[in-house]
């Protein structure tokens, strides 16, 4: 199993979620994060003066998946999250040794 971590633009969250859902991925965990990267922050103004905010709000998705579907899930995320502008985000794939469902105690792929 793998843990897929995807950093995406927050306003793409709904689309990504919908796309995953139609591809059979039902569960995920989402966190509000701040990203630093090539996409530079933006300038804000305040009483006539400008200042720079150098982080960019992003949404982080964590999705546990069986090995077999990793490639597909990554594809689905890319398609739904892409805007072709800098800052579209990244996908990280980590090895996942075990998954346990708290309610039932099931483990492994059936617990996902």
């Amino acid at each position: 199993m793998k843990l897929i971590i995807a950093i995406i633009k927050p306003f793409k969250l709904d689309e990504v979620k919908a796309a995953l859902s139609t591809s059979g991925v039902d569960g995920m965990t989402v966190t509000e994060v701040n990203g630093f990267g090539r996409q530079k922050g933006h300038t804000e103004v305040y009483r006539g003066s400008e200042y720079t905010v150098d982080f960019v709000p992003k949404a982080k998705l964590e999705i546990a998946v069986p090995d077999a579907v990793v490639a597909k899930v990554v594809d689905v995320i890319i398609k739904a999250a892409k805007t072709d502008k800098i800052g579209d985000g990244k996908i990280f794939v980590l090895p996942l040794e075990e998954v346990i469902r708290i309610r039932t105690g099931e483990t492994g792929e059936s617990a996902i």
Binding site: V45, Y46, R47, G48, S49, E50, Y51, T52
Partner: protein
């Protein structure tokens, strides 16, 4: 009763100031700002009771007062007459109205000093402001024997300050400036020419609504300063001029900053409308609606330029206390010398005293420069005087080691260290 109702409105400005200053502060010092607002008010009440009122509004000499003309002291509100001077207003009502003014002055100061001032330091300088600086300098202009009070010290034109562009706002603004200078900027605050800019505010919602509350309170500030509701036309004129100057100040600042950033800048507009209100405070009784609009719009521009100036001088004034109250207090005082229409004289309980010598006429209405010079002398005397003494006061507090908190405290926030808790401690993950 008019005086009481308007005193209540002026008092209510504290809620506006607390919202405005807390909104413009960072989250980590929010409780500090709020508590300062409350404690400054409480302190000011006790000090104004103890001696502030006597010093400011008592008879005495040109520099300070203390009691009635017969020499009985008014300390601790003793020996007060039933009604104050010739106003016909119950003295305790007049006391309350003037306490609310004093409180405003003291709160203005803290807006420039927030985020890094220790609470002991705040207590000391607040005692200095409410207990000494404001009543003494205020006496000069508004005390019955104050040397600026209606004395034609420059040709035939006496200095006039209807509701306090000089007395409340210039004084408050200049002390704020002294405080910001002596404190130095907040840690991490970089200025424009060093590639930086302002630090983030934490809540524009309460800051904006705070400004509207202040506008509402200003209807106590200015119209209440007629002291009498019998001068119906005067009160209505004051109220209408106050409104129009605020409108023009807000629009002036909005439009003036738009070309810079192509953004509709809410913080600038908020300070712009306050700038208009500060400016109209002195001349509101003597100018026309058109004059109010023009001088308000100019104030909206001045407040932005003054903010730029502080940025250039690397002075960190988180709320813009000096641009709003200092710079526009000066402008408002001077503007009387330009825009007074010459139709109205000194206010009396039943209306303007429009007798020949009493009317106030500014440069643009053919009155020449006499009134302008009188305004300049009065404002400069008080402004420079108070700034000098405030610098001494702030350095004195600094010498006690209580003015500025330690580096770690400032970085982690005043709330956690001085007040034992933050403003919003119940977050989801901590308690569910």
């Amino acid at each position: 009763m008019w005086v009481l109702v308007t005193a209540f409105l002026v008092f209510f400005m504290q809620a506006g100031f607390m919202f405005l200053e807390a909104g413009f502060a960072r989250e980590r010092e929010t409780v500090n700002v709020l508590l300062e607002g409350i404690v400054d008010t409480c302190l000011c009440g006790i000090l104004f009771y103890a001696w502030g009122f006597a010093w400011m509004f008592g008879h005495g000499n040109g520099l300070i007062g203390w009691g009635d003309a017969a020499g009985h002291s008014w300390y601790c509100l003793q020996n007060l007459p039933d009604t104050y001077e010739s106003t016909g207003v119950a003295t305790l009502a007049f006391f309350l109205f003037q306490f609310a003014f004093a409180d405003t002055c003291s709160t203005i100061t803290s807006g420039a000093m927030l985020g890094r001032t220790g609470f002991w330091g705040d207590l000391w300088y607040s005692i200095g402001v409410s207990g000494f600086l404001y009543p003494i300098f205020g006496h000069w202009a508004w005390g019955p024997d104050g040397w600026l009070n209606s004395i034609p010290f420059w040709k035939a034109a006496p200095f006039h300050d209807f509701a306090g562009s000089t007395v409340v706002h210039t004084i408050g603004g200049m002390i704020a400036l002294a405080g910001a200078i002596v404190l130095g900027p907040r840690l991490g605050r970089k200025f424009k020419r060093d590639g930086g800019g302002p630090m983030p505010y934490h809540n524009m919602t309460i800051a904006s609504v705070g400004a509207v509350i202040l506008w509402f309170g200003w209807y106590g500030f200015n119209p209440g300063s007629t002291l009498s509701a019998m001068d119906i036309a005067g009160v209505a004129r004051v109220a209408a001029n106050t409104t129009l100057a605020a409108c023009a100040g807000g629009l002036g600042a909005l439009i003036f900053v738009y070309p810079r950033s192509k953004k509709w800048d809410c913080g600038a507009t908020v300070n712009g409308l306050l700038a208009g209100l500060v400016a109209i405070t002195c001349p509101c009784y003597w100018v026309s609606p058109l004059g109010a609009i023009i001088l308000g719009a100019v104030a909206g521009v001045i407040v932005i330029l003054a903010t730029d100036l502080l940025e250039y001088l690397r002075i960190d004034d988180p709320c813009g206390a000096w641009p709003v109250h200092g710079a526009c207090g000066i402008w408002g005082t001077l503007s009387l010398g330009l825009f007074a229409t010459g139709q109205f004289g000194a206010p009396t309980p039943t209306g303007a005293d429009n007798s020949a010598g009493a009317v106030v006429k500014g440069l643009f209405y053919g009155g020449g420069t006499d009134q302008l010079v009188a305004q300049f002398i009065g404002n400069a005397a008080i402004g420079i005087g108070v700034f000098a003494v405030a610098m001494v006061l702030m350095y004195a507090v600094k010498a006690t080691g209580t003015l500025r908190v330690a580096k770690e405290i400032e970085i982690e926030g005043l709330d956690l260290h001085e007040h034992g808790g933050t403003a919003y401690p119940d977050t989801r993950s901590s308690t569910h």
